[in-house]
């Protein structure tokens, strides 16, 4: 039967129909909220308008209670709710409210809600209201929300 259907897929209606049905079911299952015809172009526009890694790569997460000592290098997103002692290089870094970083940090986008001590080199810096930042910071764009505690040398590139 399988050989027969493979030989004549176009002539027979049934096997091709069941094939396409399976394919459709597989395609629909993951995104049932949206009609499948609408979602693919939307994803394409998103991928073009925002940095690729934000959409495509999953964040690396250092959870609460986790202490990392050493060097982290990533092309993607890094979320820190634990503690990092050492050097971090990533495209986008979020230091969460319980997070703590002690050392050197290089990133394009940096959001600080927790504590940071050390030297920072970033493009886009956002310091949250409960954050504590202490160190030498060079940046391109800065935003410090009211209440954020920052001290050290600030250099705008």
């Amino acid at each position: 039967m399988s050989i027969f259907s493979k030989n004549q897929p176009s002539a027979e209606n049934e096997p091709s129909a069941s094939n396409s049905e399976e394919a459709v079911q597989e395609f629909v299952a993951p995104n049932q909220e949206e009609p499948p015809s609408a979602s693919p172009p939307e994803q394409f526009t998103k991928a073009e308008s925002t940095p690729r890694s934000n959409v495509l790569s999953k964040p690396s997460i250092i959870s609460e209670g986790f202490v990392f000592e050493g060097t982290i290098t990533s092309d993607g997103v890094l979320n820190i709710a634990g503690t990092v002692l050492g050097k971090i290089t990533a495209k986008s870094v979020l230091i969460d409210s319980g997070g703590q970083v002690d050392g050197e940090l290089n990133s394009e986008q940096l959001v600080i809600k927790g504590r940071l001590q050390g030297s920072v080199n970033c493009e886009d810096l956002n310091v949250g209201p409960l954050a504590q930042v202490d160190g030498d910071i060079s940046y391109k764009y800065i935003h410090i929300q009211r209440g954020g505690k920052v001290s050290g040398k600030f250099i705008k590139n």
Binding site: I142, H143, R146, K149, V150, F154, K156
Partner: protein
């Protein structure tokens, strides 16, 4: 707010250049240029305003440019057009996106 009670206030219009030391008991609104020391309860540096020297106050709101030294005992706000260089002492700070900050930042009460 400033127009209601002008007693104890200093207004420096655009194009005006002041050189010297100034003690202002209430509001200092600067659209021109001040060279020297300026102390006021509340300081507003408008977008065209420039202060070269030492700026001290309780609440400081910067839309223009301040060089050398800024000290704020209550709140310091650097707006998106603001530019601050030099040493900065504050107890509460807010910097809007686009604000320019170049220098040393010191928190007056870091453990509050």
């Amino acid at each position: 707010m400033a127009e209601v009670n002008q007693q104890g206030c200093l207004f420096v219009g655009e194009g005006v250049v002041l050189v010297g030391n100034f003690e202002v008991p209430d509001i200092a609104s600067i659209s021109g240029t001040v060279e020297g020391e300026l102390t006021a309860k509340q300081v507003l540096i408008e977008a065209t305003g420039i202060v070269r020297g030492k700026l001290t106050g309780e609440s400081i709101d910067i839309r223009g440019e301040v060089n050398e030294h800024v000290s704020s005992t209550r709140s310091l706000i650097i707006r998106s057009t603001g530019k601050v260089t030099g040493s900065i002492h504050y107890s509460e700070i807010e910097i809007e996106k686009g604000g320019h900050l170049h220098g040393d930042l010191h928190n007056l009460d870091p453990h509050s």
